[in-house]
Point group: C2
Chain length 207, copies 2
C-alpha cells in the first residue's frame, strides 16, 4: 500500500491527501511531528532527501520527495493531468508558479501566525505579504477571465494552487479583495473527493 | 520557428537557451529590457501571463510561460527527460526544489549585487543567504554521493538546477566550501552544446 509521510498542518502534504482521495487510492498515513524533529532523523533522511514532508513511499518501497513530483506521479494517466502536450505545459506553469511565488509567502506568514508570532515578527510578515499579494493578484486576474486554471475544467493545477490559497487568511492575508479567487475556491472545495486540511475546521477555509 | 523572449541576465531564460542549443533546435531570440519595462507591456502580458521571461512561443503561435514548463515541453521525448516514471519523479523533485528553494535566494542576491546595492541592502542579502545556503548544502550532500542528480547521467535536472548555482558567487555566496558542487558544475559545463550566459564571461562561471 502507498505510505504518505506528512505533518498535521503541511499544505504541501494536504495536496497529496486531496489527490489520493480524489483518485480513490488507499494509503497509510504517517504524521510526523515537526516540533519533535521527526523530519530531521537519519531514518527519515534516507527516504526524504530534503528532510521534509510530504514523502510518498510507493508499493515497492521506493520514495518520492517533493509535493509537485508526488502529485504528477500519482495523477499521470488520470483525467486530472491532461495528456495533451500544450495543456500539460500550461498546467506545469501553474505548478511551478505556485511553488516559486505563492507557496512560501503564504505558508511562512501562516506558520508565524499559528505560532503566535504575528506581532513579534510583523516586519517579516509584511515582507512576505509584499511578495504574496502580487502573486495572488496574478491568480485573481487569471480567474477573473477563466473558470479554471487549465482547459476550462478542474485539474491538478487547481488542486495544487488552491491549497495554500485556501489558508492564506491564516497568515493575515486579506482575501476579501479577491472575489474571483473566492468563487474559484468554492468550486474547488466542491469537487468530489475533496478533503479538509483538518477534520474540525470550517467547510470552506478562506471563504 | 520557435521564438524565445528572454532578458540579458535571466538565469531562467539561460536554462532554455542551453536546452535549445543541446537539442539543436533553431529559434529566434528576443531579448527584452527589464529596466525599460518591456515585460510589463500589455502586448507581452498577452503571451506571458505572469509578465516575466522566459516565454517560448511555439511554431503555431501558442505561448508557454514559466521556465520549468518550457524546459519540460522541449525535452519531452529526448534523452534529457527520462521516460521511466520513477526517474521522472526524481527529476521533477529537483526541478521543484530549484524553483522553490534555490532560485530566488540565489537570483535576488545576485541582482542586488549586480545593481550595486550589496552594501545598502546587506540585511536583505544576509536573509537571502540564510535561505540559500541550506539549499546549497542539500545539493552538496547529494552530489558528495552521486555524480548526477538523476539516473547517474546528465539530464534536464542537472541543466535546470545548475544555472543559478553557476552564478551564485555573483550574489556574494562563498562557493569554495562546496567541493562536490564545483566538480559537478565543471561536468555540466563540459556537456556538448552547453552555452554561456553571456558571450564575454569566463568559460566556467562559479568555478
Amino acid at each position: 500500500m502507498l505510505r504518505l509521510y506528512d505533518s498535521r498542518l503541511s499544505g504541501n502534504s494536504w495536496k497529496v491527501r486531496i489527490l489520493l482521495s480524489q483518485l480513490g487510492r488507499p494509503y497509510e498515513r504517517i504524521t510526523l511531528d515537526l516540533a519533535k524533529g521527526e523530519t530531521r532523523t537519519e531514518a527519515f533522511g534516507a527516504i526524504g532527501r530534503f528532510q521534509r514532508v510530504p514523502v510518498l513511499v510507493l508499493e515497492d518501497g521506493r520514495p518520492i520527495a517533493e509535493s509537485g513530483a508526488i502529485l504528477l506521479h500519482l495523477a499521470e494517466g488520470t483525467p486530472l493531468l491532461p495528456a495533451d502536450p500544450y495543456l500539460r505545459a500550461q498546467l506545469m506553469g501553474w505548478l511551478f508558479f505556485e511553488q516559486a511565488d505563492l507557496q512560501k509567502p503564504l505558508a511562512i506568514a501562516r506558520v508565524l501566525h499559528l505560532h503566535g508570532q504575528a506581532q513579534a515578527r510583523r516586519e517579516d510578515i509584511a515582507r512576505l505579504q509584499a511578495e504574496g499579494y502580487p502573486a495572488l493578484e496574478k491568480l485573481e486576474r487569471w480567474l477573473a477571465r477563466h473558470g479554471w486554471l487549465v482547459d476550462d475544467r478542474y485539474t491538478l493545477a487547481d488542486l495544487a494552487v488552491s491549497a495554500y490559497v485556501s489558508v492564506a487568511h491564516q497568515g493575515g492575508y486579506e482575501m476579501a479583495r479577491f472575489g474571483a479567487i473566492r468563487d474559484w475556491l468554492a468550486r474547488v472545495h466542491g469537487q468530489p473527493g475533496w478533503v479538509k486540511l483538518l477534520p474540525d475546521e470550517a467547510a470552506t477555509p478562506g471563504a
